[in-house]
Amino acid sequence: MAQSLRHPMTGNRMDPSAEQGGHGFEAHEYDVVVIGAGGAGLRAAIAAKDAGARVAIVCKSLLGKAHTVMAEGGIAAAMGNAYPDDNWEVHFRDTMRGGKMLNNWRMAQLHAQESPERVIELEEWGALFDRTEDGLISQRDFGGHRYARLAHVGDRTGLEMIRTLQQRAVALDIDVFMECTVTEVFTESGRGGSRVSGAFGYWRETGRFVVFKAPSVVLATGGIGKSYQVTSNSWEYTGDGHALALRAGASLINMEFVQFHPTGMVWPPSVKGILVTESVRGDGGALKNSEGNRFMFDYIPEYFKAETADSVEEAEGWYADKKNNRRPPELLPRDEVARAINSEIKAGRGSPHGGVFLDIASRRDAEFIRRRLPSMYHQFKELADVDITTDPMEVGPTCHYVMGGVEVNADTEQSSVTGLFAAGEVAGGMHGSNRLGGNSLSDLLVFGRRAGHSAAYHAFRTADSKPALVDDDVRAAADHAVAPFSVEGAIENPYTIQKDLQDLMQRLVGIIRTGEELTESLAEIDKLKERAKYLTVEGHRQYNPGWHLALDIPNMLLVSECIAKAALEREESRGGHTRDDYPGPDPAWGARNLALTWNDSAGSIELKRQPLPEMPDELKPLFEDRS
């Protein structure tokens, strides 16, 4: 791309003179196209650029607005700054146990080994983390982590991370296509299966189409939370990457595991679901029911008994003396805490607006709270009229993160489709059945970088045999994208369908599930799929959110169906999947993954049980000592 033109509206880089082939749309050629500009996408693009590839980043929002910007608590990395005893083995063990051993062990290992260097690298690019007394990067406590391990900047760590990566990407002069949505990943079928040939999207501002020709595509599109009613996730989280991967022929794993964060805001209604960072508990916040009891002591599972305080006295002691006291039960992994809160509310011991109380004011002084949790202070003050330095917060579970995602090779992040890579929340395996707080931001860095490298090398290797775009496929993608403007008998409002889906997922595929309700959910999803054929879209193609939503809805439905299908199949309770009709974990299920694929000729999702990759013997002793 020698001389590139600017988009008339946004100033984004574009090149209409490069219209090529028979399809007649704006077209670009790159070695690597990264879809997504959150932590994973930016880190992947930086790695690919460093490797010498021609790289483009494509994202739905403006640069710097991806979900990563909202992350609050911190980045987990065993740097040992706060506790010299910390090392990758302890972090690895915590991660696997937090995920109830269903994690891909190799991903968890790479993650624990490489995250410290990835964090220090951010500092190299300008990040300003909070410091310890010795001037090192400060590390804070979080649920499920044995040692204080989260590198952080107050409670706005994600902002620091995305800004640092964004500025690095700008310094490297990486091309960014912002407010541009990808609707299709193209593949070319040939010997030995199919391989990626490019991608198709539209500019949100103008509604015009854009075609990318590239042998490597990295999916870094984040999660699916917008399919739930109460969620900490934004409009972007419609599962696009999950759906693109399925349709391109890749498989998804662990889709039954959806993380409900224990503490979302519950009041006022307009902010229901907005996150209250786990740092509140890490920094001393206690959970109490309407009777004033710290109910978490009643919910300590056998599995974590040995490392959890069993009395208020011991828990209190821990804040000052971590060597001789065990951790408060408020800092159990998220799935445990979310279920406990859910039970308390159901038992009628909830707060006035249907949550429980989270109290930090009783333990910490106002100065400490404002310094450590500035944006929580601000958020409650501005949106709920609550001063958290004097009053408790009301909190309840909110859909937060999807553990499931594209099945990838642990070392290269390549999916089963040649040239299609995935990293970040859209990838599966790393977190098993439950993610520990702070392990996502580190995941983005570790696997984003690996995916970017692999994608660049794949492009170099195929330089002599580049895959070709098929004009008919491109035209079909364009026809598909404008179809909502001319549906015969269209009567359905996309916003209504989205709302109905959110209600149904919340009600039938939520925190606590039953076989009966899951079966019902699948029937309901089928009905919505039928209705979604008749979406109406008003207006024209220029910056039209109704049209954009109409194109997102099929993705949301596809991904929701995957979640419900896998949840119905897994007849046990583990991590982010709780079955009322199968309350305990089942060792047989503990050795299996569920993989979902799209059968194009049948037009349906297929589900397969497959054995979990087995951990090598030399790592097993890590799980034997304490239990």
Binding site: M9, T10, G11, N12, S61, L62, L63, G64, K65, A66, H67, V69, M70, N81, I120, E123, E124, G126, L128, F129, D130, R131, D134, G135, L136, I137, S138, V153, R156, L159, R163, Q167, R168, V170, E205, S234, W235, E236, W267, P268, P269, S270, V271, I274, S375, Q379, E382, L383, N493, P494, Y495, T496, V537, E538, H540, Q542, Y543, N544, P545, G546
Partner: protein
């Protein structure tokens, strides 16, 4: 306790537009963005608006509410009288794309001109050390969520399109100040201050600081210290000479 809100919203594109009058049902505790979303979901499916976090963290939902630059997600309806009509218009300093969405590419273009952070080498153990007190100044500037409300408000470019090429604006002054105050940065400080494009055009009215939703003291903590530094260095011939020589050696090393 819901009520019917009278909402006026600017609708149109680069070729022109007008204020549309709507009545929207709203609930207790809601913010302006909620009203806009309900309008979109029930009456105007194609109403263009940017948002992401709905919690004042991403800086997407900037607009003017009754003429005041605000984040729509942090502007509570309770702050207005129930009978009052709320008027929402796009940010004025940027060209309109459609409805409430404006072309903010100016800010991204200016960001490309900021020099990259260039740190000193790591300590022997592969880590870096900085004291909390030394990072705090930079941390204040890095709270910026890039809502561009300060850029929208600053009178140097508001209604003065002709100043845009020479003026980076308050958001970008923060970037230069942040590098300037970073304990490990090795960029030439004097050069940085002078290159903070258009710093001289700022006459410290503080309007930018007033609208900043992150309460960053843009004028007091970033702009004024930078102005002082430029002044100092310019007038002191010895410093001038010294930094000139250093700059050259720096270049040779690169």
């Amino acid at each position: 306790m819901g009520y019917d809100l009278n909402l006026r919203v600017w609708r149109g594109d680069s070729s022109g537009g007008e204020l549309g009058d709507y009545t929207v049902e709203v609930e207790e505790g809601e913010v302006v963005l909620d009203a806009i979303h309900r309008l979109q979901a029930t009456q105007t499916g194609d109403l263009a608006v940017r948002w992401n976090c709905k919690a004042g963290k991403c800086g997407s939902c900037s607009a003017e509410v009754n003429g005041r630059p605000r984040l729509m997600c942090m502007t509570r309806l309770a702050d207005f009288d129930e009978a009052e009509t709320i008027t929402v218009t796009p940010m004025r300093s940027f060209p309109v794309i459609r409805d409430l969405v404006t072309d903010v590419s100016f800010n991204y273009e200016k960001a490309k001109q900021v020099p990259a952070f260039a740190p000193t080498p790591r300590d022997a153990d592969g880590k870096r050390r900085m004291q909390q007190a030394d990072v705090e100044r930079g941390q204040e500037f890095r709270k910026c969520i890039e809502c561009f409300l300060c850029q929208n408000t600053c009178h140097v470019v508001r209604d003065h399109e002709e100043n845009k090429p020479a003026f980076a604006g308050p958001r970008l002054f923060l970037r230069y100040a942040e590098l300037d105050m970073h304990p490990l940065d090795t960029n030439d400080r004097r050069k940085l201050s002078q290159e903070a494009a258009g710093l001289g055009m700022c006459n410290i009215t503080k309007c930018c600081s007033e609208v900043c939703p992150e309460n960053i003291k843009i004028t007091d903590n970033a702009i004024i210290p930078m102005k002082e530094r430029v002044a100092d260095r310019k007038y002191d011939p010895l410093v001038w000479l010294g930094s000139k020589i250093r700059r050259r050696t720096d270049r040779e090393e690169v």
